[in-house]
């Protein structure tokens, strides 16, 4: 009872503690993905709500809602929390507004590096970074005398050694679920090989080449070392495999580390789990990984008063030193005052090694979609790498023509 009272009093008086951003008018309605760091961010933004109307929708299906909801006029949401890839359809449809004036007026705590500018216009304010990197089981590696892998060739050799030792049947795991996840793995590996997806300055595809073939062959090698059901495994599924102790090396999002390292599950596995840098591939020196940012955007089809209120609340969260201190292990925050912990290793190493961001191009979504469907048959062994890449380009060309890119 006492606890409840304390919590209640915090809820009641906590909001008044930050009177500096007390918003008087306008209405705020946020659409965001659903993971702990974003919940923390939105809760921090709520501290500012004052007498303004404040609503939030956390949904894993946010991508499917966003475009229709922001196309309506007035739009359902005033704020959309987006990432490199999900900002693209918003930009293509001209659904978000530039916020240069708001940044000047209310964005005191926001660092310049947090601003996403396109042609000089601030279209989003980033607050956290993410990437996919390696997770290793130090105990298994030590037992078999294997050093921490630095390249995907090392990963293959190490996994083969672990399998040969009879320790694990499927020592490697990555989210290879047909569709978005599988395409993302291709994107990572292709960038690691130094590939470019489009011919410079155009929307013409450029993946049917030696780098594309090398990418597919590496994916196939890794797939053969994974659980045979890999084509149905997303990030959640491979996390379960990891916690069950079936996997020794894994490629997974940095933002998913939270539940892997908590107190639940086998303490031995948790203690031996180590987050390391992303691997390189094919002798390249940049990691086979893409950098991602999460940031907030403001809907265009909403009155200026709502945009102003929304910006003030979100800017408060995106520059809150208390928040990043309190939630230091939830994400790699881009906010000033963030002190990286052991869970940030992957992202920080990736940045140091010069990893590239996921391409923020208007036609990238079409390429991503084509990849997710067309390379499956190669992995199943029903098609050659060249044929698979030819199919991807053909499928992409058709879609790009319909969308007016070619």
């Amino acid at each position: 009872m006492k606890k409840i009272l304390i919590v209640l009093s915090f809820l009641l008086f906590g909001t008044y503690a930050n009177a500096d951003c007390n918003i008087k008018s306008g209405s705020i309605n946020i659409l965001a993905n659903d993971f702990p760091a974003l919940r923390t961010l939105v809760d921090t933004a709520k501290e500012c709500k004052g007498s303004a109307d404040f609503k939030v929708t956390h949904s894993a299906e946010h991508n499917k809602i966003a475009v229709p909801a922001l196309t309506a006029n007035p739009s359902e949401f005033s704020v959309r929390v987006a990432a490199n890839s999900s900002i693209v359809p918003l930009m293509n449809g001209d659904l978000i507004r530039p916020m240069n004036d708001l940044v000047k007026k209310y964005g005191k705590g926001i660092q310049d590096s947090q601003l996403i500018t396109i042609d000089g216009k601030v279209m989003a304010v980033a607050f956290m970074a993410n990437t996919q990197h390696l997770y290793v089981r130090t105990d298994v590696l030590k037992e078999n005398g294997i050093a921490i892998p630095k390249t995907y060739e090392d990963v293959v050799a190490a996994s083969e050694k672990i399998r040969a030792a009879g320790k694990m049947k499927y020592p490697y795991a990555a989210a290879y679920k047909a569709g978005w996840n599988l395409a993302e793995e291709f994107v990572n590996m292709y960038i690691g090989h130094g590939g470019e997806f489009f011919k410079a300055g155009t929307a013409k595809p450029n993946i049917n080449n030696a780098k594309g073939v090398a990418t597919l062959n590496m994916l196939k090698k890794l797939a053969d070392l994974s659980n045979p059901d890999y084509l149905t495994h997303d990030s959640e599924a491979i996390k379960v495999e990891w916690e069950a102790g079936n996997v020794a090396i894994m490629t997974l999002w940095a933002s998913r580390s939270g539940t892997l390292l908590d107190d639940e599950g086998d303490a031995k596995i948790t203690a031996a789990t180590k987050l390391v840098a992303p691997a390189t591939v094919g002798g390249g020196n940049i990691p086979a990984a893409t950098l991602w940012w999460d940031g907030f955007t403001l809907a265009k089809n909403r009155p200026d008063a709502d945009a102003e209120a929304s910006f003030r609340a979100m800017a408060h969260a995106a520059s809150s030193k208390e928040m990043v201190a309190k939630a230091a292990d939830q994400a790699v925050w881009l906010v000033e005052g963030f002190v990286p912990g052991p869970k940030s290793v992957g992202v920080i190493e990736a940045v140091k090694m010069g990893a590239k961001p996921y391409p923020m191009l208007p036609q990238m979504g079409l390429m991503h979609g084509a990849l997710g469907n067309e390379i499956v048959e190669f992995l199943q062994g029903n098609e050659s790498a060249e044929q698979a890449l030819k199919d991807v380009e053909a499928a992409y060309n058709t879609k790009a023509k319909e969308q007016g890119f070619l």
Binding site: I118, L231, T232, P362, L366, G369, E377, G404
Partner: protein, 342 residues
């Protein structure tokens, strides 16, 4: 019923059908003939926390002008229908000229997304529909001759697959065929192959989805057949018993002809349902191995970050035409019977 009162009874339903089914289909049809305007791209400087880069971007000012003039998009005629992701007419003629044998031609055609989906959809329809009819009829016959005391409980158990939400039903089977699930692991033991995976093998995935389809749809056929069996007149049956007809002969010559119109009805509904197979593909995460026409529409609408309305509309219209073609023989037959009965 006089035509006039039929008309007044029908008007509310008719209006609702036009409003909620007719108009959307017309709108879908119109959309399928349009494509997006040419995107005007320009190179701009983009900066994010990881650095700056010059790359292409849609020129909003130029694009929005064109959009306002013609909001539907660029008229494309049958362009979307014949492109590679649909009927692929150009590719078909190329393959025909390039290929040395019919087998090579067919394997190339099977690699095109629309035909890939069509092959799976047809296979599913052709296997599931007769199996559902047969299984439903056999269950109905056996339950009809069982003691009345336990019949109620058995009927309830039989229609359970229909009560269970399709997605939940498919997920249960999905977990059972997992490499570590009860069926998946036992198959590995049985085949003595530790790398055998139902989910990664195309054939096994198809078989799983088809078995699921039969399991899910049979109760519907059973319920309808069971109801029809209650109307079979007892006199001819008793007469045939006296004449020494076997059980099989009785079913063939008396029961089946009597419930024949119902069989046609169930076949019609099953064909329509099966042609639109969708949920099991999502439930089994099987899009890698099995794609149906409905799944293609879903993929165009939600799986991409750019929504392909034209593509989805074209596939929808072709699905409607496909169902119409499949149903034609059954409908013609029903029509003929209707005429002769008059």
């Amino acid at each position: 019923m006089p035509n006039k009162s039929f008309f007044w009874f029908f008007i509310p339903t008719g209006l609702a059908m036009i409003l909620f089914i007719g108009l959307p289909i017309i709108s879908t049809g119109v959309q399928s003939f349009y494509a997006q305007h040419d995107q005007i791209l320009k190179e701009v400087k983009k900066c994010d926390p990881f650095g700056c880069k010059v790359s292409v971007q849609i020129d909003q000012e130029a694009t929005s002008k064109i959009r306002e003039e013609k909001p539907l998009g660029k008229f494309n005629g049958f362009g979307t229908y014949v492109d590679r992701n649909h009927l692929a007419t150009d590719q078909l003629s190329n393959f025909w000229n390039e290929s040395n044998s019919a087998g090579e031609f067919l394997s190339k055609v099977g690699n095109l997304p629309f035909y890939k989906a069509l092959i799976f959809t047809f296979t599913y329809c052709i296997i599931v529909t007769p199996c559902v009819l047969l299984l439903g009829f056999v269950i109905a016959l056996s339950l009809n001759s069982i003691s009345r005391k336990i019949r109620g409980a058995l009927i309830f158990g039989t229609i359970l697959p229909m009560i269970v939400t399709p997605l939940v039903g498919s997920l249960v089977l999905f977990w059972m065929v997992d490499a570590e699930g009860i069926i998946g692991a036992n198959l590995q033991l049985l085949m003595n192959d530790p790398y055998l995976s139902v989910k990664s093998s195309k054939t096994l995935t198809w078989i799983t989805i088809i078995i699921y389809g039969i399991w899910h749809h049979s109760p519907f056929a059973f319920v309808v057949f069971y109801a029809a069996l209650q109307t079979v007149p007892q006199e001819p049956l008793e007469a045939s018993i006296i004449d020494g007809a076997s059980r099989f002969q009785r079913v063939k010559h008396i029961v089946l002809p009597h419930i024949y119109p119902v069989v046609t009805f169930v076949a019609l509904i099953s064909l329509m349902d099966n042609f639109r197979v969708f949920e099991p593909i999502i439930g089994f995460s099987a899009q890698g191995s099995a794609q149906s026409l409905s799944w293609l529409i879903y993929d165009n609408l939600v799986n991409e970050e750019v929504i392909l309305f034209g593509s989805a509309a074209a596939t929808s219209i072709m699905t409607i035409i496909g169902i119409a073609i499949i149903l034609t023989p059954v409908l013609i037959r029903t029509w003929r019977e209707f005429r002769t009965n008059r």
